[in-house]
Symmetry: D2
Subunit: 174 residues, 4 copies
DNA sequence: TTTT
DNA sequence: TTTT
């Protein structure tokens, strides 16, 4: 549709080590279960209560799958940004069923590790290029050298790098 | 859980006139179906393709239900901000089923009308207090008089209104 | 820094026809002024009050600049998603000054037109490829064919298009 | 304005212990400096580069100020959600100056601690009621008992608590 | 300087 | 079931 937005932002913890499958043509797909929760004090009883929500996240982005494969373990705290998608499928009795998932695919998908350890499941982390929690948009981080603007004053220049290479870890994609 | 965020942001069109039910104790609950869609040019065929996603939105916030009741019609374009919630229920054969909805309830829920007409279903709009599309956080809009900060210069004062009234359409909630 | 997010989401109206400059090497940079505003009823006087906030948006993304050049006019309602950046410059007396802008550059930058007409400044719109308000992430819209996941049921396939082409209007970027 | 949104989402680290001032009528205002940063590999040199952005955050929300006063120290990692505001002031020579800040005030403002320790400046944490990182929307967390919707099946009831109490730590604000 |  |  014209002028529509479909965006989900979660910060939560991974419930189990991620599963990574591959399509027939070799591209990876990662599945994550992420828990968010909120707590509040019950007005009547005065007790603190908590409710946990579980989310299914499906990652089609190849660079994000690589990050997940290497660094994301059970217990890791993640920031993720994706889109809602409801998928129709048939159960064993042939009835239509629907599952809603958060899809990370292409643009505007982000996955960022928020803890420096991948705590919870044990292991994780270690790669020398991945020094702690880090942000992984597709193709590496958003470029940042920036540039100027300004009504009259200032000049905007955005110097570093060529604008049209697209390898992951590249500097300025466009 | 400590430190979690569960947020959905949608801009889309309402698929049908909203349904408003009431709980036993009289509070309203509105249900909306919202469509978002995206289009892209297929790389092989060169054809433009489009995919629509349908979202179920459940509104527990009383002020937002009032806005919906009065102004939201089939076809209206909305900005909504809520949280994901998956609800378990039993189908007629007693099997567990799950439905994922976007819940607008309390804080950090927003509904904003993005077209000035409520076009689509016909009528709508017209109230003198609601001049066109408008933003409705719970209890009216976020206060805005603001105030200053500043490292050294400036003084921050936030003058208008008492901070502790809570009627809808109030000025400064806290 | 590890694990950081810097995101701005605005829906507002463009205050003047956009300015588009070009860098020495020919890349476009668009400047927009966008107004957001909120209204509330003053608690004391009972009057409705309104406060408008003006935002400076700088667009480095080439595809987004093209969209702006062709379709965005004074008065247009836009959804934009970018990042905050504070730029240092010197005024005519040599004093340091700082300007904070919303930068749209590379990933996670989005600009979507929310009105079907570019109303306000007059003209606009018309291109056959741009049928009304539309979303433009860099390189065309986010792909959407999606795919499955599911713990046991369903199979995930994401069929259309080659995953590694990167022209604007392409189908599936990664 | 009708139909506008002004939202900033940051995840970053606090650069110094927060300053808390008070207005003449006793309400607190907290100032935070938050750093976000992104890194990328320079396309020419192949070096990893990093750019840090500093943000000024001004908190008018009283419950959020309390949280900041008690738990937020230099080095803490925070999620914050607020609105952009540009404030005009005069420097010592009488020239107009502008500062853009992220304001947390009333609805749709959130501050969540993302590390369980307030690492960096030392101390922090300890209160028995604040067991680790936690989310603080105004007046306690968003209620979560939720309820149902559903086209035909299921019944939605949202039972707990009265909808109109407004103390912090309350359960269901509206 | 926008919009309602 | 919406919208362009």
């Amino acid at each position: 549709m014209a002028g529509s937005v479909n965006k989900v932002i979660l910060i939560g913890n991974v419930g189990a080590d991620p599963e990574i499958r591959r399509t027939q043509d070799g591209r990876p797909i990662a599945n994550l279960r992420i828990a968010t929760s909120e707590s509040w004090k019950d007005r009547n009883s005065g007790e603190r209560r908590e409710k946990t929500e579980w989310h299914t996240v499906v990652v089609f982005s190849e660079p994000l799958c690589k990050v997940i494969e290497q660094y994301v373990k059970k217990g890791a705290k993640l920031y993720i940004e994706g889109a809602l998608q409801t998928r129709k499928w048939q159960d064993q009795t042939g009835n239509d069923r629907y599952s809603t998932e958060i899809v990370l695919q292409g643009f505007n998908s982000t996955l960022t590790m928020l803890d420096g350890r991948g705590e919870g499941g044990g292991a994780s982390r270690g790669g020398s290029d991945f020094g702690g929690a880090q942000s992984y948009d597709d193709y590496g981080s958003r470029p940042s050298s920036g540039g100027g603007s300004g009504s009259g004053a200032s000049g905007g220049n955005r110097s570093s790098g060529s604008p049209l290479s697209r390898d992951m870890d590249d500097d300025i994609p466009f």
